[in-house]
């Protein structure tokens, strides 16, 4: 049995050796293997189809079959294409833009349980290390103990947390936290919002109104690396409603292949900026397109 995509492609190309060029006919099986690998990695079905036709176009006519390592040349075409879609061409797009007029406001949004609150703590720690004055805003007024959760993280880090347990208006809390941040000369404001479904119009409106109230410099969509095919529906809706500025992919410390990264990138066109690789607040890294490409392909 061939386990990895590498091995499968090796065997496919062995059979083709001696033929001069890649043609639509002789590449079929190799393409099928890539398609299967990507679907197993949870890349969305339509996104896979589109990606595959792009790769096929790139590969057609290449004189790779004569070479002894045709499989490697083919893999490289696939890998390069994937890396480039994931953001390979412009690594600076993956940085968080700091506002020229502080505070820089960062708003975290996403589905329930994706890792927003933890990521707020991770971002706070990240900026704290860079000597920034950070404020975290407990703007999840729904989840039981959501405010406590952020306050515990704030205490652990020694980072200021704005909260108001009596205020039942998330837009108002955001507005007031912004005023507080200006008064206390904060450099960075990180707004933790409640998890919500993209199909919950009322709660999506709430996010839109928070956005309108404080004009965030960054709206980051926090997504779970284990997300399956539905990632495209969710990301599309959050992006359409809020015009997100980037994506953070969490829980990459497990063995999920993380195909959602490609799906989200493809349907939103927005850069992946950071990844979460653990529950602790320092388990946070920049996003590397090449590593993600290999991971999705299972190599």
């Amino acid at each position: 049995m061939f386990n990895t995509l590498n091995e499968k492609l090796q065997s496919v190309f062995k059979k083709m050796r001696g033929e001069a060029r890649i043609t639509e006919d002789n590449i079929k099986e190799a393409i099928r293997q890539v398609k299967m690998a990507m679907l197993e990695a949870d890349v969305n079905y339509k996104v896979v189809k589109k990606f595959i036709s792009g790769v096929q176009e790139k590969a057609l006519g290449e004189e790779v079959l004569k070479s002894l390592s045709a499989d490697q040349v083919f893999i490289k075409i696939v890998n390069d294409e994937l890396t480039s879609i994931l953001g390979g061409e412009d690594p600076s797009a993956s940085k968080i833009t700091l506002s020229s007029t502080p505070p820089t406001i960062i708003m975290l949004v996403g589905l329930q349980g994706s890792g927003k609150t933890t990521t707020a703590g991770k971002l706070a720690k990240h900026f704290q290390k860079n000597d920034k004055r950070v404020l975290m805003v407990a703007d999840d007024i729904y989840r039981p103990a959501a405010i406590d959760q952020l306050e515990v993280l704030g205490k652990q880090l020694g980072v200021d947390v704005y909260s108001d347990k009596d205020n039942k208006n998330a837009v108002d809390i955001a507005q007031k936290s912004y005023e507080y941040a200006k008064k206390s000369a904060k450099d960075i404001v990180i707004i933790d919002t409640a998890g919500r479904l993209h199909v919950n119009n009322e709660l999506m409106d709430e996010l839109f109104n928070i956005k309108k109230a404080v004009s965030p410099d960054e709206i980051l969509f926090v997504a779970d690396a284990m997300t399956g095919q539905d990632a495209v529906n969710v990301a599309t809706k959050f992006n359409n409603d809020l015009d997100i500025s980037g994506v953070i992919l969490t829980k990459l410390d497990g063995d999920a292949r993380g195909g959602a990264a490609l799906s989200i990138r493809e349907v939103t066109g927005k850069p992946l900026k950071y990844v979460g690789v653990g529950e602790k607040l320092d388990a946070f890294e920049p996003f590397y397109p090449d590593r993600m490409a290999s991971r999705i392909l299972g190599m």
Binding site: D148, L150, V152, E279
Partner: protein, 284 residues
Amino acid sequence: LGKKEIDEELLDELEELFVTSDIGVSTTMKIIDDLRNDVSRKILKNPQQLKNALKQKLTEILDIDNELVKTDDKPYVILVTGVNGAGKTTSIAKLAKMFKENGMSVMLAAGDTFRAAAIEQLEIWGERAGVPVVKQKAGSDSAAVVYDAVLSAKSKKIDVVIADTAGRLHTKDNLMNELKKISRVVKKEMPDAPHEVLLVLDATSGQNAVAQAKTFGTEIGVTGVILTKLDGTAKGGVIVGIVDEMQLPVKFIGFGESMDDLKPFDAGEFVEALFESADETDYS
């Protein structure tokens, strides 16, 4: 699926429907290849028959015994596990409410001693459900908390103990060992406990849920699944392969954030919802 004839295009559409519901390529291929045979042998003559056959096949796979394990032990101990953020703590609140409504007394164990404010979260749910919560301070030994709860429930003649645990990825050996320890310690007091080990799976998750089910299943002997977050547009199709391969029943589904949003899994209803997605969730 509104066609007159069964052709390759229709089979492709079905493949797309299944894969985009997270059923997974290999399970999808397996099911569709089976049907392709029936089509070529003219057993299935038109799309409607094909669709019905598919529904029937999926329902057969999913419709395995999913009653809660029965025992005369008291308390009945349920250990709730799963990866981070899947919906364990919320599902526990929902279960507590369900048991209470069935006339049973319930106690919760705050076994997640790790995540920030996990104990407070369970306490709030306990208050809302009107059930006591046994806890120690953050950072304490999770097995000790659960053991305490079992002892306390025994002395107070409480019917059901539901233990929360910290979210953990199945790839982390040390954390999986901690779960085994909880089970081991509880057995000292009650050899057949935990009577149920429920794995909470997020319907939004893709193929990684298969690895979760396999590892939690073999490491700590999961007895059933709670499939959460079915109120979104995700269909939770990954469960098909899991039930098929592991004969692990889905016992409950979660479909919202409030205490009422839980009910026993119903295979037929689940399969109908899978097919609904074809018209509803078309992103383009």
